[in-house]
Amino acid sequence: MDAIHTYSFLFHFCLVAALAFPLLSFVLSFYISEKYSWITSVLASFLLLLGTLASAVVLYQAWNHPPFAYRLEWFSLAGYSFSAGVYINNISALMLFIVTGVSFLVHLYSVGYMAGDAGIQRYFAMLGFFTFAMQGIVVSGNLLMTFVFWELVGFSSYMLIGHWHEIPAAAEASKRAFIINRVGDAGFLVGLMIVWAHGHSFDIAALQHMPVDPTWMTLASLGIFCGIVGKSAQFPLFTWLPDAMVGPTPVSALIHAATMVAAGVFLLARVHFLFTVPALHIVAVVGCITALLGAVSALAQHDIKKILAYSTLSQLGLMVVALGAGSPQAALLHLFTHAFFKACLFLAAGAVIHSLHQAQHQSHVHFDVQDIRNLGGLEKKLPFTFLIFVISGSALAGLPLTSGFLSKDAILTALVQWHGEGFSWKLLILAAVALVSFLTVVYTFRMIWKIFKGSETATAQLHISEPPAVMRAPMAVLAGVSLWIWFSWNPFNFYGWMYTNIGEAKPFHSGMVSIASAIWVILALGVAYVTRQVTVGSPLLLNAFYFDRLLKQFVEKPILQLAALTHHADKKWIDGFLHATAYAQLIVAHLTGWFDRAIVDGLVDGVAGAAKGLGSFTRSFQGGKIQLYIFWATFAIIIFIIWTLL
């Protein structure tokens, strides 16, 4: 029964090690001389490999065992003690492994991709720090601790997006990401306060037995959801994610596709029990809007990374929909599969960009290598990358035999189950999700077709070669993991070892859904092939429905006006009051100063002056002044005569 004692020393050691190695990498990166900065990359990758092994041990030990919980009193305030704790069950152990593993692969990839970069030490340091913070979120058994790591993750994301801070767009985007996340985090904090006010605990395990007041719980869960909206780039706080693509591509792969943005989904799954039914409905609607928005916008993008960013948005939306539909398992399954194939896609896109940059460097031809309109016919020149792209793209599109098919199937099944019988608004969400999966196929196909098929345009003269092995290996691993086999033996049944063990399994599976899904995807593929030459040139879609500008018009402007107003009030009234009190204090100070000088100092000076006068008076008798001597002699004689004769 006592969960703690069933875990061996090895487990504890590996758990600490899994977190310590990335942190060590962060620290060591500062101690390596600039001259040998390449050591940093190798060392960091090695440390992450060790961390991955440690987390693998943790996963093996924790899998299908009672949850491991460790709690430590952190600090106490006003009679309440705040604890810090670790809580590891199947989900967090798996997530820990995936985070560390993907992070290791990205580190390895970065060795090739970032070679020769001036800020390589800072890059690897922040990458290690990010990994540590992300692991912190995953293993934390305490919402307050989660919040702390949550902020650290946001900070490292800020640092990494702005890695090339000399580029104004990068600096701008990093600021943007940070600030938009702050908005969400404010909501998160409010949610935490409500939770504390009702449960007097932040411990996730303890909160499950919290007395539930529906209204407050709805508000609390919506507050927490605000934080998730910010971190997972949901509607309406999604605009930072496409902008964040100015960061290095491996960072996009790790942070803005596989792990950090998934942290929101992970947290949502973890505190799913807090969410009331109305809150879940809102979650579902928000997720649906995000998914649709992302998918439609992705159709019109020209930048590889932007396409992938909007696709990430849309996939995250799908996960949130699944959570809203009350199926955390489906969401988590999609989160895990998505972590692999989206990271793989980003790395492959990075490989294309890297290769083209190298080629450009040799031939001095310059064009935007991220714009797919400039690319084409790269299939022959980059066969390996093409293969990777096809595999991971299929997973994204949800073609059968890939992991994506399984997880998308799980989500669709969950939605079908959630929607139940009859007609309701939930059917609309189901339809929207179906549309999203259709659109996903279309934009993925278009992207791959544009890059690798078609006619060579700007790239015709370039000597393009495959990226180095150190970059190819992580891509190969991730592409391999994008296949169905790792998640379920049966490629048409998502009830694999993972799905059944990451939450209480709902005995619902419809072969119909799988088949319909497969047919739907094939159909979409056909449509995509037919319309491959049609370009969607709508500026509306290109700019994601001008959501940015809308936000600016309807949120930023009024807020700025309000700020100006309050600033004015502050200047006029509060400052006036403050000045008045300051003047009053000044007057009092002058009065006391005068008192001090005149009375207190005067007393002291008076005593000193008296002593001085006495001194100089007695001194004057010895002044060497003959006439004075005579004067005093006469004076004495007068006194003597008065004394004696009168």
């Binding site: 010895q622 006439q627 005579i630």
Partner: protein, 102 residues
């Protein structure tokens, strides 16, 4: 002449007091010496005045003569000192000569 002796004595007292004030307050050595002469003369006046009360006895006058002699000596030596000081210190202000006062 039947002037009371008191009138001599009053003048003597006045001269002595004036000499005293001059000695104390003048910032010039020669004037200080003059003040001293004034005081000596005041005492001489007293001696002569008292001698008048004793006809046939000339002790008072004799004393006055010796006082004059001593005053001569004092004036001669004093003036010599004044000249010397003036030559050494370029001053005739008694307060400025305070070499012993450190």
């Amino acid at each position: 002449m039947n002037v009371p002796v008191h009138h001599f004595l009053y003048l003597g007292a006045f001269l002595f007091s004036v000499g005293l004030v001059v000695v104390i307050s003048k910032r010039n050595t020669i004037l200080v010496l003059l003040g001293l002469e004034l005081m000596l003369n005041a005492s001489n006046l007293n001696l002569v005045a008292f001698n008048r009360l004793h006809p046939g006895n000339l002790q008072g006058q004799m004393f006055a003569i010796f006082v004059i002699v001593v005053a001569v000596c004092e004036a001669a030596v004093g003036l010599a000192i004044v000249l010397r000081i003036y030559r050494e210190y370029q001053t005739s202000v008694p307060d400025d000569v305070n070499e012993l006062n450190l």
